[in-house]
């Protein structure tokens, strides 16, 4: 099942970029995003802002090509839009814009913003007494940003079980980060480390929530 899906999404990504070698950032997020949108997130592409949806924020906005391809595949906008990627009048830029792309919750680009916005959304859903979930995807390089650790500290402190942070660890950080899962755990998160290419492991980890703590899923990409 999965290899066929990934092949199809890869082909859509190629329609956007014109290059079968995807950039490392999009390539590393591909499997996690696919499992998230195929099996975990609740959404209606016909009503992308429905209150009943789960929220997803791509904090590392530069990994947007796989995101666009999956949103198109799932019906948020026509797949024919993908070939307009990066053109002057396209809705699909090098970083996602919430005011242009259906299904994009937050405009991101500058690193270290998205997870904090996702914390705000999780706090908002708690205030609304909603049982919907908020997911945010960050990269290991992005973990160099101080604001990421502000957000991790705050979410752990506020005990937000409705928040899941996916940390893609494709070892792009110049600084050695050590054990990322242990770092999240030290800030009060429930943590799991998975093989970022293994769809069952990813599904299992993303499906699980803790009763009191936010969840961090570290997806290792070799």
């Amino acid at each position: 099942m999965t290899s066929k899906d990934i092949t199809r999404i890869s082909r859509l990504m190629m329609e956007a970029t014109g290059d079968e070698k995807h950039d490392a950032s999009s390539n590393s997020t591909l499997d996690v995003l696919w499992v998230l949108y195929d099996r975990v997130l609740r959404y209606n592409p016909g009503h992308p802002m429905s209150e009943e949806r789960d929220r997803f924020v791509l904090s590392k906005g530069h990994g947007c090509v796989a995101f666009y391809a999956i949103l198109a595949d799932k019906g948020f906008f026509p797949t024919s839009q993908l070939k307009t990627f990066l053109r002057y009048d396209s809705i699909l830029g090098g970083h996602p814009d919430r005011n242009l792309v259906p299904g994009v919750e937050a405009s991101t680009g500058s690193l270290g913003h998205g997870l904090s916005m996702a914390v705000g959304m999780a706090l908002a859903l708690r205030l609304k007494k909603s049982d919907r979930r908020v997911f945010s995807l960050i990269g290991d390089g992005e973990c160099n940003e101080g604001s990421i650790w502000e957000a991790i500290l705050l979410a752990g402190n506020r005990q937000l079980p409705n928040l899941t942070c996916i940390a893609i660890n494709n070892h792009s950080s110049s600084l050695e980060l050590g054990d990322l899962a242990a770092k999240f755990a030290a800030f009060g998160w429930a943590t799991t480390t998975v093989n970022g290419r293994d769809h069952e492991q990813i599904y299992e980890a993303l499906s699980r929530t803790d009763s009191t703590h936010p969840t961090a899923v570290v997806a290792e990409i070799a």
């Binding site: 919750e105 705000g120 959304m121 706090l123 908002a124 205030l127 604001s147 502000e150």
Partner: protein, 295 residues
């Protein structure tokens, strides 16, 4: 009651009947709020000392339909999380309210890291950012109630200084305080209390400005009887010059921009000593206007 205390009163009153309003703090002023109120205490979010995340969290709340009121001391609300204000609010076109305390050198004894004379200048560079400079606590209350839910990011510049007389101000409108022929003086926020005694016996128009952005160029164009324009601002001098030029483009004008000089303020002491040093007193402003008109 000073403007900061008024802010707390206004927000608490509004929160009791507007469930969309959420206060986001980074410790500063947290103890001022009634955190035991069953009506709104869960909507007072103190994130700790993390101002970048304070602003991003507020953006997340705004995306979910809440109206955030974000507050801290000026440099920690404006300059430290500047990119979050730009990307997370202005670029995303989200509504939110950013309320500072400690204008320019109000916290004079704390030194330059706690001064904020550059706030309005840099916020004017953000597309869509509204800037409000009330002159009294009551004016803050009126302006905030008028604008807080208008869907745009809005900065409220609160000062420990206050004008002795309150005016019936409206958001986005200049108020005509005095009419005359020799010059048009635009006094921004708390500068009105220094401008009025400075020009008491002069034949000038005085326009009182409490909304810096969007600037009410229409009233300036309609009211001004003189080509001599004097701008008196409580932050780095000259921020409104571009707006004045745009409003008066139909006629040649001369502008004198009075405000805080663009230099590092490394003195301590009392705010009034800073006023004296840089000439933001009735006597200093009078001298500048007379020199300008005699040229």
């Amino acid at each position: 009651m000073n403007m900061r205390q008024q802010m707390v009163k206004t927000l608490e009153e509004l929160m009791t009947h507007d469930e969309r309003l959420v206060v986001v703090l980074a410790e500063i002023s947290y103890s001022y709020f009634n955190t035991h109120s069953t009506q709104f205490s869960e909507r007072i979010l103190n994130v700790g000392i993390m101002e970048q995340t304070m602003v991003s969290v507020a953006a997340g709340l705004a995306m979910e339909g809440f109206i955030p009121a974000v507050h801290s001391i000026t440099p920690f609300l404006v300059e430290r999380p500047f990119e979050q204000l730009k990307d997370d609010f202005c670029y995303q076109q989200l509504g939110g309210n950013f309320i500072s305390t400690g204008a320019s050198y109000d916290y004079s004894v704390e030194g330059m890291t706690h001064h904020g004379p550059g706030d309005v200048q840099i916020l004017r560079s953000l597309p869509g950012m509204q800037v409000v400079v009330p002159g009294t606590p009551g004016e803050f209350d009126a302006l905030f109630r008028e604008a807080y839910a208008n869907g745009a990011p809005t900065y409220y510049r609160l000062s420990l200084k206050s004008n002795p007389v309150e005016h019936g101000v409206r958001f986005g409108k200049l108020e005509v305080v005095k009419r005359g022929m020799q010059a048009t003086i635009i006094a921004v926020g708390p500068m009105l209390s220094a401008v009025l005694p400075a020009v008491e016996d002069m034949d000038v128009t005085v326009l009182y400005c409490t909304t810096v952005a969007p600037f009410d160029g229409e009233t300036l164009r309609n009211i001004s009887q003189s080509s001599n324009i004097v701008l008196v601002e409580p932050y780095y001098e000259g921020v409104l010059v571009v707006d004045i030029c745009a409003a008066m483009c139909h006629t040649p004008i001369r502008i004198e921009a009075i405000g805080v000089p663009h230099k590092v303020l490394s003195r301590y002491g009392e705010p009034e000593q800073h006023d004296e040093e840089i000439g933001l007193t009735p006597r200093g402003i009078r001298r500048r206007i007379e020199r300008f008109l005699s040229k």
